[in-house]
C-alpha cells in the first residue's frame, strides 16, 4: 500500500484524537488570537445600545438542549445586555424546552434575583406557547388568548403592571429572538415584526446564519448574531469576554486542521488519479 493510500485510509479515531487535542489545548491555555468583529455584530450591538431605557421588548427565548451549546453563547450575552440597559422585557417561547433553559440562563448570568425582584414591573415570562408559527401568530394577535391570561407562574396577566395595555404584537417596540434552529426567528419575523413593522434582532446558529442574509438585505430583519463568532464579537463589544471569546481559539485551530484535511485529501486523490500512483 502506497503512502497516499495509507493516508487516505487513516482510521477515523486518529482524526478525532487530533481534533480533541486541538480543542482541549486552547481551552486550557488560551492564546488570545485576535477576534474580528463583523459589521452585522456592530449593527446588532449599536441597535440595542441606541434604544431608550423605557423600550418594551418582546424576547422569545426559543432555546433547546440540542443547540444550546452554541445558541447559549449569544443568548447569554444578549440577555445580559438587555438587563444592563434596563429595558422592559416580556419573555416567551414557542419551543417546549425553552422555559428551563431560560431560567438556567438567568441563573448562570446572576440575573435571576433581579428578574424575580422586578417581576411584573420590568420583566414577565409568558411560558411555552405550543404550535410554533401558530403560537407566534396567536401571541401577535392576543397574548391573553394565547396564554389563557396567565403567565408562567400562574399570575393573572392583568394583575402585572408591565402587562397593562400590552396584548398584541403591535404593543412592543422591538423583538429580540433567540432561535434554536433556522425557522423560529423567521416565524417571529413573519408574524410579529413585519405585520406590525417593528425591528427584530435574531441570534441564529452559525450553521443557519447564511440563510438569514436575504432577510437582512431586504430590511426584514434588523440584525443578527451569527453563532459563536457573533457572540464572541458581542462579548468584546460589551467589554465582557467570556465563553464565546474563549471558544474562538479552539475554532481557529480546528478550522485550520479541517482545511488541511480537506486540501490534503484532495491533493492525495489528485496524485492518485493523475500521478499514476497505484
Amino acid at each position: 500500500m502506497s503512502l497516499s493510500d495509507k493516508l487516505l485510509n487513516i482510521q477515523e479515531k486518529y482524526i478525532y484524537i487530533v481534533l480533541a487535542v486541538l480543542l482541549i489545548f486552547p481551552l486550557l491555555k488560551p492564546l488570545g488570537l485576535p477576534i474580528t468583529i463583523e459589521d452585522i455584530t456592530y449593527t446588532y450591538y449599536e441597535g440595542i445600545e441606541a434604544l431608550p431605557s423605557d423600550t418594551l421588548i418582546l424576547a422569545p427565548h426559543d432555546a433547546s438542549t440540542g443547540t444550546e451549546m452554541e445558541i447559549g453563547l449569544s443568548s447569554h450575552i444578549v440577555i445580559k445586555h438587555l438587563f444592563r440597559k434596563g429595558f422592559d422585557i416580556v419573555f416567551c417561547t414557542i419551543c417546549a424546552s425553552g422555559p428551563p433553559i431560560f431560567f438556567e440562563t438567568l441563573k448562570a448570568e446572576g440575573l435571576y434575583e433581579q428578574f424575580m425582584d422586578d417581576y411584573g414591573t420590568k420583566y414577565v415570562y409568558l411560558d411555552f406557547i405550543a404550535g410554533e408559527e401558530a403560537g407566534a401568530a396567536s401571541i401577535a394577535a392576543s397574548i391573553r388568548v394565547a396564554t389563557g391570561g396567565k403567565d408562567y407562574f400562574g399570575n393573572d396577566l392583568d394583575s402585572l403592571p408591565l402587562m397593562q395595555g400590552v396584548d398584541s404584537g403591535g404593543d412592543f417596540d422591538v423583538v429580540v429572538a433567540t432561535d434554536e434552529h433556522s425557522l423560529l426567528s423567521v416565524m417571529w419575523m413573519n408574524q410579529v415584526a413585519i405585520p406590525y413593522d417593528i425591528p427584530i434582532y435574531c441570534n441564529p446558529l452559525a450553521a443557519v446564519g447564511s440563510t438569514f442574509w436575504p432577510y437582512i438585505d431586504a430590511g426584514q430583519m434588523t440584525a443578527m448574531l451569527i453563532g459563536a463568532k457573533g457572540a464572541a464579537g458581542y462579548e468584546i463589544l460589551m467589554n465582557d469576554p467570556g465563553p464565546a471569546a474563549a471558544n474562538m481559539d479552539a475554532q481557529t485551530f480546528v478550522h485550520v486542521y479541517l482545511l488541511i484535511l480537506v486540501l490534503g485529501a484532495n491533493v492525495l486523490l489528485g496524485i492518485k488519479k493523475y500521478g499514476g500512483v497505484e
Partner: protein
C-alpha cells in the same frame, strides 16, 4: 491548576452522559445506547408534560370559567387519536383537516409578503451603480439569480427551446454549489461550538481544571 473534582451528583451524571454519547466516536456501544435511550425517553416525557400543561392553560381553564367553546380544540385533538379505533378512524379526518387548513392559512398569509413580494423588491433594490465595486457586485448578483432560478425553473423537456440553456444551467449549478460550500463551511463552526462547549463543561465544571 486547581484540580478538585466536582462533588455535585448532577454534574457527575451529566459528565457520565456526555462521555457515554462521545464514546460513539470509538464505536457503537452499550453506554452510547443507554445515553441515547435515556435522552429520548426523558425528552418524550418532558414534551408530554409541556403539552398537557399547554392544554390545561389554554383550554381547560377557559372551560372552567364558562367559555365552553374551548372544548372544540380539545375534541379536534382527541379526534386525531381515533385513527387507532377501528370503524371510527374516519373521525380523525376532521382534526387533520383543521390542522392542515389552519397551518396553511397562517403560513400563506405571512409567506406571500415575507418570502415573495418583499424578497423580489429587495432583489431589485439591491442593484446599485454607485461605485465600480457595486456595479461588479450587482452584475454577479443578477447573473447568479437568473442562472440559479433558471436551473430550477426550466426542466430538461423545454431546455432545447431556451437559448444558452446549457450555459445558464452550468452557471446556476456553480452558483448554488458555492452557496452550499459556504453553508457547509459555516456548519463546521456550529459543530465545533457544540463540542467545545461540552469539553468546557467536562474540563472546568466537572474536573474543575482552570486555564494555565
Amino acid at each position: 491548576m486547581a484540580n478538585t473534582l466536582s462533588v455535585e451528583i448532577g454534574i457527575w451524571i451529566s459528565a457520565f452522559m456526555i462521555l457515554c454519547i462521545y464514546s460513539w466516536l470509538y464505536k457503537y456501544n452499550k453506554f452510547f445506547k443507554f445515553a441515547e435511550s435515556t435522552m429520548i425517553g426523558s425528552a418524550a416525557g418532558y414534551l408530554f408534560i409541556m403539552g398537557y400543561n399547554n392544554i390545561v392553560n389554554t383550554s381547560v381553564r377557559a372551560i372552567q370559567i364558562g367559555k365552553y367553546w374551548h372544548i372544540l380544540p380539545i375534541l379536534l385533538g382527541v379526534s386525531l387519536f381515533m385513527r387507532y379505533v377501528k370503524n371510527y378512524e374516519w373521525i380523525q379526518r376532521y382534526g387533520t383537516a383543521y390542522l392542515i387548513a389552519g397551518t396553511t392559512a397562517i403560513f400563506i398569509r405571512a409567506t406571500i409578503v415575507t418570502q415573495v413580494t418583499q424578497q423580489i423588491a429587495a432583489t431589485i433594490n439591491y442593484v446599485s451603480m454607485a461605485t465600480p465595486m457595486d456595479i461588479l457586485n450587482s452584475i454577479i448578483y443578477l447573473v447568479f439569480i437568473v442562472a440559479v432560478s433558471g436551473y430550477f425553473l426550466f426542466s430538461e423537456r423545454y431546455s432545447t427551446k431556451i437559448p444558452y440553456y446549457n450555459v445558464i444551467n452550468k452557471v446556476g449549478r456553480y452558483g448554488f454549489l458555492t452557496a452550499l460550500g459556504y453553508y457547509l463551511g459555516i456548519t463546521v463552526m456550529t459543530r465545533i461550538a457544540f463540542v467545545s462547549d461540552r469539553l468546557r463543561y467536562l474540563l472546568f465544571t466537572w474536573l474543575k481544571l482552570s486555564p494555565f
